[in-house]
């Protein structure tokens, strides 16, 4: 049972604060890249060749976004949606200052994908805002993929009315036991 294994691990750990770097396996070369594209803005890409599931890979990207935010000594980040012309099937989430507040809303972490099938050299783009079903190809035929997100890191109290805001520590805590880098 997973929980039993987890409890065994606990015995080996002291009660010191969790070292999240040791809890997630290291990524292979080129699996995760980040590039600063502006003041506090970063473009993050997770790449791999073995597709597992959309959820697993997107969670890993979200986890890396949270960890990068913490490494920048910031507290939270905003996710910048990558919408191209025509990507309007999904409405842009709007802030609701009078509504409920959140530390994060995973449903709004919606990165854009591109992938190759059957060793093709051409990339196919898939946007979560296009309305198209997620990757129509047989997952076994996918030979390469990239999932990308642009984030802006912020310090200080979080704007928790912003649906695209994510508190880094809370997100990292949730995902640390769920993620591993793709291959």
């Amino acid at each position: 049972m997973k929980l039993g294994i987890a409890l065994g691990i606990v015995v080996c750990f002291s009660l010191a604060a969790a070292d999240t770097n040791e809890m997630v396996p290291p990524a292979g070369p080129g699996v995760f890249t980040s590039k600063q594209v502006g003041t506090g803005a970063f473009k993050l890409v997770v790449a791999g060749h073995t597709f597992t599931s959309r959820g697993d890979i997107e969670k890993y990207l979200a986890y890396r976004a949270a960890r990068l935010t913490i490494e920048q000594e910031a507290e939270w980040f905003t996710f910048k949606e990558d919408r191209e012309k025509g990507d309007s099937a999904e409405p842009v989430p709007v802030r609701d200052p009078e509504g409920q507040r959140y530390s994060f809303r995973m449903k709004y972490f919606r990165p854009v994908w591109r992938y190759k099938v059957n060793e093709s050299a051409a990339w196919t783009r898939w946007s979560p805002f296009s309305g198209a079903a997620f990757i129509s190809a047989d997952p076994k035929t996918i030979t390469g993929f990239e999932v990308s997100a642009e984030i802006v890191v912020h310090k200080g109290p979080m704007d928790d009315a912003d649906p695209l805001a994510f508190e880094a520590h809370a997100l990292s805590d949730l995902l640390v036991n769920q993620v591993s880098p793709p291959k």
């Binding site: 049972m1 009660l15 969790a18 509504g99 959140y102 809303r105 520590h169 809370a170």
Partner: protein, 465 residues
């Protein structure tokens, strides 16, 4: 409370009497806390409702939280649990009346409390011990700029409140985070848990006393002392059921006692800023423990009739606050009964934490807070002999449960490794003969489940989709 020595009582009486006449004599004023609640500032209209919203107001634009109050809200929360199907979510949110018990309210209660206890990223993880492992269901928060409390950090920041009398920089992020939580929000102290905890205090669960003394003028004294702490003596009521004036109470120099330097200006007592130990709000015996305000302050303002109002504030450890609100019974019982979601409250606490910075983790471990007190005049005396806070042996099991459950939660939060429910925990206890199995399945049974029990073999009482 009536066994104080003649000498002590006499000194107190003389001092109290002298307070009104002598300007440069030793003076003492004592109070018993007659009402104790979070300093949340209610802004709603009790006569107004809008759909499922409960008393919208300037504090909470959509009113109080409605977690586990209506099926739609339950479905919304459970839709964040990825191992549940849409059909399951709908079935749990709208349980059939022939499920666990015939009473529809009972079906809702047990079905919802069971499902609420398992919302982690896999079905093995108990949520109230491991709240970090569930997605944030969201919590309405206070949008008003007016709030009570103290400027604890000496700064004026955008997220701070302005006090009702215009002081800026008020730090009370607990109000921001939890001020719309249903059981703590209400007009003039009528939130359900405010009423419940105060009823219990008045019935003898615990007593808090304050003693202020000085050697100058009780209206203006720059070298006064304020003591606050637990009293072993039950609050005395008058013939009308109100807290009686001028009874005597012992103050224990226990781990829930603090002595602070204070200044009195125009009759308003304000203490130095220091750590404060005093009883926290409780409605069960197992919650009785130190509130522990870090960098705290106390203010006491005397009314013309001799009563007074008090305000105590400081940074409280989020773990103490979370445990205080969840573990007296169980998270599911508390959440469904009071229409609050402790996962949402957990995230709100940590999001708004603003004190007790931990350089190692890079996170704040405490949140600024303030609590109101209504004070009735009393004679506060020392006990004949030093004594500790009395322990009720009959309640030892409840304390053990609370302590074990809280320890597991803290371990989970620190290691980020989901923890099992401790055997002693009330999270495993049956309510109305209904236990909760792994995956949030209500199970008919008696006694306690043990970690590792194969609940799949038990009789499932969950509604079928």
């Amino acid at each position: 409370m009536f066994n104080c020595t003649l000498k002590v009582c006499s000194v107190a009486v003389m001092a109290a009497a002298g307070a009104h006449t002598a300007a440069a004599a030793h003076w003492v004023r004592g109070y018993v806390v007659a009402f104790y609640e979070p300093a949340f500032r209610y802004g709603g209209r009790a006569d107004y409702s809008r759909g499922t919203e409960v008393e919208p107001g300037v504090d909470c634009p959509h009113g109080s939280a409605i977690h586990f109050a209506v099926p739609a809200q339950v479905a919304k929360s459970l839709s964040l649990v990825h191992w549940r199907t849409k059909e399951e979510v709908e079935a749990i949110a709208n349980p059939p009346a022939d499920g666990v018990v015939r009473d529809p309210a009972g079906v809702y209660f047990h079905t919802w409390r069971a499902a609420s206890a398992y919302r982690g990223y896999n079905r093995e993880i108990e949520t109230y011990i491991n709240p970090f492992a569930a997605e944030d269901p969201g919590q309405p928060e206070v949008t008003s700029r007016i709030g009570e409390g103290f400027n604890l950090d000496g700064k004026i920041k955008p997220e701070d409140f302005v006090s009702p009398d215009g002081e800026k920089g008020i730090d009370n992020q607990l109000y921001r985070a939890w001020g719309c939580d249903a059981p703590w929000r209400g007009n003039n102290g009528n939130g359900t848990l405010v009423l419940r905890s105060n009823d219990k205090m008045l019935e003898g669960l615990y007593t808090i006393v304050i003693r202020v003394s000085g050697s100058k003028d009780p209206m203006n004294d720059d070298d006064a002392t304020l003591e606050i702490g637990y009293s072993p003596d039950q609050i005395m009521k008058d013939a009308r059921g109100n807290v009686g004036s001028d009874y005597s109470y012992r103050i224990l120099h226990s781990d829930q006692y603090t002595r602070l330097k204070a200044r009195v200006k125009d009759g308003v007592v304000e203490t130095e800023q220091a750590d404060i130990h005093m009883p926290q709000i409780a409605w069960f015996y197992n919650q009785l423990r130190d509130a522990f305000f870090r960098d705290g302050k106390i203010r006491v303002s005397v009314n013309s009739d001799g009563t007074a109002v008090g305000l105590v504030g400081g940074y409280r450890d989020w773990r103490d606050l979370y445990a205080q609100n969840v573990y007296a019974q169980s998270g599911g019982v508390q959440g469904v009964r009071e229409h609050e979601d402790h996962v949402a409250l957990y995230y709100a606490l940590r999001r708004h934490a603003d004190g007790m910075f931990n350089a190692k983790t890079g996170r704040y471990g405490g949140i600024s807070s303030a609590y109101r007190m209504k004070l009735t005049p009393a004679f506060v005396v020392d006990p004949d002999k030093a004594m500790a806070i009395p322990v009720r042996e009959s309640e030892a099991r409840g304390k053990e449960s609370y302590d074990a459950t809280m320890a597991a939660m803290i371990k989970a939060a620190e290691t980020l490794v989901p923890q099992e429910v401790p055997p002693a925990s009330r999270e495993l206890a049956a309510t109305d003969g209904i236990e909760i199995g792994r995956g949030g399945v209500p199970i008919r049974g008696k006694g306690r489940l043990r970690p590792g029990d194969d609940n799949a073999k038990a009789t499932p009482a969950a509604p079928k989709p």
